[in-house]
C-alpha cells in the first residue's frame, strides 16, 4: 500500500488525505517534503522556548495535518513554506493559506502548457503567444528569460554577466515570469 502511495502525485495524495481521511497518504506527503522542512527550520532551532527539534518538527507536522483537512492546496510546496513561516512567526492560530494571484496565474499557464503537450498545433499557438508576451516585457527581464530558458544559462552565469547575486538573478527571473503569466492571462480574458 505504501509503495503504491509513493507513486501518486501531490494532488492525489492531498485528495486521498482529505476525502478518504487516509492518514497513510498524509504521511507519504509529509515524508516527501520532510528534508526541505528540516532544512528550512534549521536556523530557527534552539533559539528560544519550545524550539528544540523534538518540539518544532512534531508541532509543524501537526499544523500541516490540521491545515490539510480544511485548506485548498493547489501547490504543496507553497503551502508548506507558508505554514513554516507562520510557525516561525509564532502565530498561535493557523491563519488560512491562500495562493497569491501571481501563483494562480502561473499555475494556469502551466496547466495550459501541459494540456497542449499532445497537440502540436496548440503547442505552436501557445509558443507564439508566449513569445509575443515575452516581447512586451522590459529589456532586462526579456534578456534574463531568453538567456535562462532559451540558452540554458545557469544562475551563476547569468549573475556573472550582470554582476548580480544569485538571489537577485532568481528574483528578476521570478518577477519576469509572473509578469508574463499575468500578461498572457489578461490577453485570454480580453
Amino acid at each position: 500500500m505504501l509503495q503504491q502511495l509513493t507513486n501518486l502525485s501531490d494532488k492525489e495524495l492531498i485528495s486521498r488525505a482529505r476525502k478518504l481521511k487516509d492518514q497513510e497518504a498524509e504521511g507519504v506527503l509529509m515524508e516527501r517534503y520532510s528534508h526541505l522542512m528540516v532544512a528550512v527550520c534549521l536556523p530557527y532551532l534552539n533559539n528560544g522556548p519550545a524550539t528544540t527539534p523534538e518540539e518544532v518538527y512534531p508541532a509543524l507536522l501537526q499544523r500541516l495535518s490540521a491545515s490539510l483537512r480544511t485548506q485548498t492546496i493547489p501547490k504543496a510546496n507553497e503551502w508548506i513554506h507558508y505554514t513554516i513561516r507562520a510557525q516561525q512567526a509564532q502565530a498561535e492560530k493557523n491563519s488560512p493559506f491562500f495562493p497569491s494571484t501571481e501563483s494562480r496565474e502561473q499555475q494556469q499557464m502551466e496547466n495550459k502548457v501541459e494540456k497542449a503537450a499532445t497537440n502540436l498545433k496548440e503547442q505552436q499557438l501557445l509558443a507564439a503567444t508566449i513569445e509575443s508576451a515575452l516581447g512586451k516585457l522590459p529589456a532586462e527581464e526579456q534578456y534574463f528569460l531568453k538567456e535562462f530558458y532559451l540558452h540554458a544559462k545557469s544562475f551563476a552565469e547569468l549573475a556573472a554577466t550582470k554582476n548580480y547575486t544569485i538571489e537577485k538573478t532568481r528574483q528578476i527571473l521570478q518577477q519576469a515570469k509572473q509578469k508574463m503569466a499575468s500578461l498572457l492571462m489578461n490577453e485570454t480574458y480580453e
Partner: protein
Amino acid sequence: MSNLENNEKILKIFSNIRCLNRDQLPRYLDGRLTDVEKHLVEQHLVDCNLCFDALQVLQQQQYREKYQPLATSMQQYIRSSIKRISQVHKVERYQRQEQKKESFLIYFWVVAAIAIGAGVIYLVQQQVRLKSPVPKAIASNAELPPAQSENPPVQAAVVVPVHAEADPAPKTAPSTATAPAAPSVTPIKPLEKKDSLTAAVKPPATALVIPLKDSAKKLPPPPPKPVEAKETTRVATAHKDTPTVVKKTEDKPAPAKKEKADTPEKKPAAEASGTDEFLYKAAQVYHHQGDLNEAISRYKHLAEGSGKYGELSRYQLAVCYRSKGQTGKARRMFKEVVRMNGSMKDKAQAALDNL
C-alpha cells in the same frame, strides 16, 4: 526543426517541475548534478521558495552538519507513525472484513430461515386445502350407503309385514282347510309355483324396475352407477322377496294383492326420499367445490318437489344464484322459501334483507 526546438524551449518557461528530492538536494549543493539536471533544478528554483530557502540554509556549513541526522530522524518519525497507522488500519480493515462476513452470514441464515418457514407454511396450507374437500366427499359417500342400506331394510320392513300378514293367513287357511289336503297341495304347489314363479317374478320385477327406471331417468348422468347398483340390489331384493310374497299371496290372493299394491307405493316413496337426500348431498358437494352450474341443476330438480329437501334445495339454489351474481333469481327463490314458511324461512328473510 529549429522552430520546434525554439517552441519547446519557450514552453519550458511554464513547465511544472517537482521539488528537489533527498538525493538531489545535497548533489546540487555539491555540484554533482549534470548540466541538464542542474538546469532543471534551477528552473524549479525560480518559482519554489521552499527549495530555494532550503538550499540557502544548507549552503552554510553549520547547518549542513545538523541537517543529515535531523532529516533522517524526521523521516523515521514520519515512517513510524505511518506504520502505526497502517497497522491500525490493517487491524481495523481485518475487523471490518470479519464483521462484514459475520453480518453477511447472519443475514443469509435469517433470510434462509424465513424462506424455509414460508415454504413449510405454504406446504401445510396446500395439504389442508387438499384434505378439506376429500372429507366432505367421503362424508357424502358414507351417507349414501346408509341411505342405500335403508332401502333394503325398508323393503325388508315392507316385505316383513307382508310376511307377517301373510304368515297368519296361511296358518289360518290350513287350519280351516283339511289337514291332508294341505300337504298334498304343497308338493304340487312348488312345481306349479316354479312356473308361476317365473311368470310372477317377472311382472313384479318389471313393476319394480319400471319405477326404478323412471327415477333413474329423473336422476342426472353422474350418479348412474350407484343408481344402477341400487337397481341391481333392488331387483335382487325384489327377486328374493317376490317369491316369498308370491307364495303367500297365492294362499290368500286378495289381501296379498292389496299388500302388493301398497308395497310398491311405499317402496317408491322411501326410494324417492333416499334419492332426494343423495341428490341434495351431491349438489352440496358440487357447491362446495365451486361447480355452481352442476349444483344448480341438482337443486332445481329437488326444488320441483315439496318437503324438507324441496325447501332446502330452494334455499341453496337461491344462494347459488347469489354467488353467480344473479340477484333477481336469488331474490325470487328466497321469497319462495319465505312463502313456504318452513325451517329456512328466517334465514331466507335475512338473506333477502342483505340483498
